[in-house]
């Protein structure tokens, strides 16, 4: 197994979703260079257009992190995100994108270390899938 290729990942992270300040500090400073972090005030802010922009820019995987149902800081933002983003992933899959390139991690604040496990798991999945080739039509995003 060679390390010739590392999957490029974009994480849309809800600013309230993580367990602790320490964990957030890890996200802010310790992420490897092939993972780009974009923080949003709520997963409900994530528009399908963010996902499409990332996929078209050649990103190999998009991880969406938000709070579990019932725990949204803004009450229902995560529920709106659920429906929209789930359906948008269905649409992209319908058009040929591998479904596993978009992963959802709805995390409860009590789940210590969850985000790191999700990222590790996601990276492993993406290595299996290989480089993203479909819908990659924009100038590559700098990740």
């Amino acid at each position: 197994m060679t390390d010739a290729w590392t999957p490029r990942i974009v994480v849309f992270q809800c600013q309230f979703a993580l367990f602790s300040a320490a964990e957030q500090e890890w996200m802010d400073t310790q992420l490897p260079p092939h993972i780009k972090l974009i923080k949003v005030p709520c997963s409900g802010r994530i528009s399908p257009m963010f996902l499409l922009n990332a996929i078209q820019g050649g990103v190999d995987g998009v991880l969406i992190n938000g709070c579990v149902p019932g725990k949204c800081h803004f009450k229902e933002g995560n529920l709106a995100a659920h429906r929209r983003l789930d359906e948008f992933r269905r649409l992209l899959t319908y058009l040929g994108m591998e479904q596993d390139r978009v992963r959802f991690a709805w995390i409860d604040v009590g789940e210590r270390g969850r985000i790191r496990r999700e990222l590790a798991g996601f990276e492993a999945t993406l290595r299996e899938l290989g480089e993203s080739r479909r819908l990659v039509t924009r100038v590559p995003l700098a990740v």
């Binding site: 399908p48 257009m49 499409l52 922009n53 078209q56 579990v68 149902p69 019932g70 229902e76 529920l79 709106a80 659920h82 429906r83 929209r84 789930d86 359906e87 948008f88 269905r90 649409l91 992209l92 899959t93 319908y94 058009l95 040929g96 994108m97 591998e98 959802f104 991690a105 709805w106 479909r134 819908l135 039509t137 924009r138």
Partner: protein, 323 residues
């Protein structure tokens, strides 16, 4: 068909004479028999030019957004138009009180391009047709050179063949006899066929359709559900859809426009009829509509005032993706 046109005229005249509405939106003959035009009647004495036939291909509900908010509007509507209007009302785009729906059961819209081909009329030949007549299963075209008898089934627009709701809903009056809900082809046939392809085939199919797109936005303008005063395609910061006719911009255009119709699209097919490049789009919106039905039991325009699926959510939403 002529009886129906007479009935529509009578009702339009009545509405205007009795000052129930300020304008009635319907169709009139254009300069070419196969291309009736949307028409706007403001005077009872002017409704003699109102026509209705299977070549009336525009979804009239798209004109509601172009009228002034103060106007009381009467509108001729078939199944798809009436369902689109229901969604528009539930989105508070229009006040139901300001609308008078003249319901017409629909036997399907005829695709004039198919008719031209079926009759072997050659390029531009559709313009030679002087008059049309619809008699049951047949469509008769009269030109200077002769008559052409076509099978209606063979020249119907694709969306109409799959239509499950030809009868209008939520109307103030319904004219004519109900058409009945037996779709000629399976409602989700297009989606099933597409899903049967491999991911690579689906992707290539999408790319091929999108390749011809010239970003004229006729699909958007013909669609009653596209009424944003600022379309996402014109945003520059960030540029969601590149302005050029490149795969990137065009893919984003088709994907996002379709997605904006999720749970809103009445499957009328006006988008495809408007497209000058024969691009297929309903395979996208049909998929989204079916998903809404399967996931959230939501049927576009089925119930008055039903909240749109993307504006509602419950804690019970299925946890397929919550882990």
């Amino acid at each position: 068909m002529d009886e129906l046109a007479q009935a529509i005229r009578a009702e339009a005249a009545r509405l205007l004479a009795e000052d129930v509405v300020d304008v009635v939106i319907g169709f009139q003959a254009g300069s070419l028999a196969l291309r009736p035009q949307p028409a706007f009647f403001t005077d009872a004495s002017g409704v003699d030019t109102l026509i209705y036939n299977g070549f009336c291909q525009n979804n009239l509900a798209t004109y509601l957004a172009r009228r002034s908010r103060e106007e009381r509007v009467g509108i001729v509507c078939r199944g798809c138009e009436s369902r689109a209007i229901r969604v528009l009302v539930s989105e508070h785009r229009h006040d139901r009180e300001g609308l008078y729906l003249i319901g017409i059961p629909c036997e399907g819209i005829i695709d004039w391009r198919k008719a031209e081909r079926e009759a072997g009329l050659g390029p531009g030949g559709f313009a030679e047709v002087l008059s049309v007549s619809e008699q049951g299963d047949e469509v008769l075209l009269s030109t200077r050179r002769g008559e052409y008898r076509l099978q209606r089934e063979r020249v119907l627009h694709d969306s109409c063949k799959r239509c499950a709701y030809p009868d209008p809903v939520g109307t103030d009056i319904t004219l004519g006899e109900p058409a009945g809900a037996d779709a000629r082809e399976p409602r989700w046939g297009l989606v099933d066929a597409f899903e049967a392809l491999s991911p690579e085939e689906r992707y290539q199919s999408f790319v091929q359709e999108a390749e011809r797109c010239i970003r004229c936005y006729a699909c958007r303008e013909a669609c009653p559900m596209c009424y944003c005063t600022e379309c996402f395609v014109d945003y520059t910061t960030p540029r969601w859809a590149e302005s050029m006719i490149t795969p990137s911009g065009t893919h984003a255009w088709h994907i996002i426009r379709a997605f904006h119709q999720t749970g809103r699209c009445a499957s009328c097919g006006a988008c495809e009829r408007a497209c000058p490049m024969d691009i297929k789009m309903t395979y996208l919106t049909d998929k989204l509509d079916r998903d809404m039905l399967e996931q959230y039991d939501y049927e576009v325009g089925a119930a008055e005032g039903a909240p749109p699926p993307f504006a509602t959510f419950t804690l019970d939403d299925q946890d397929q993706f919550v882990r």
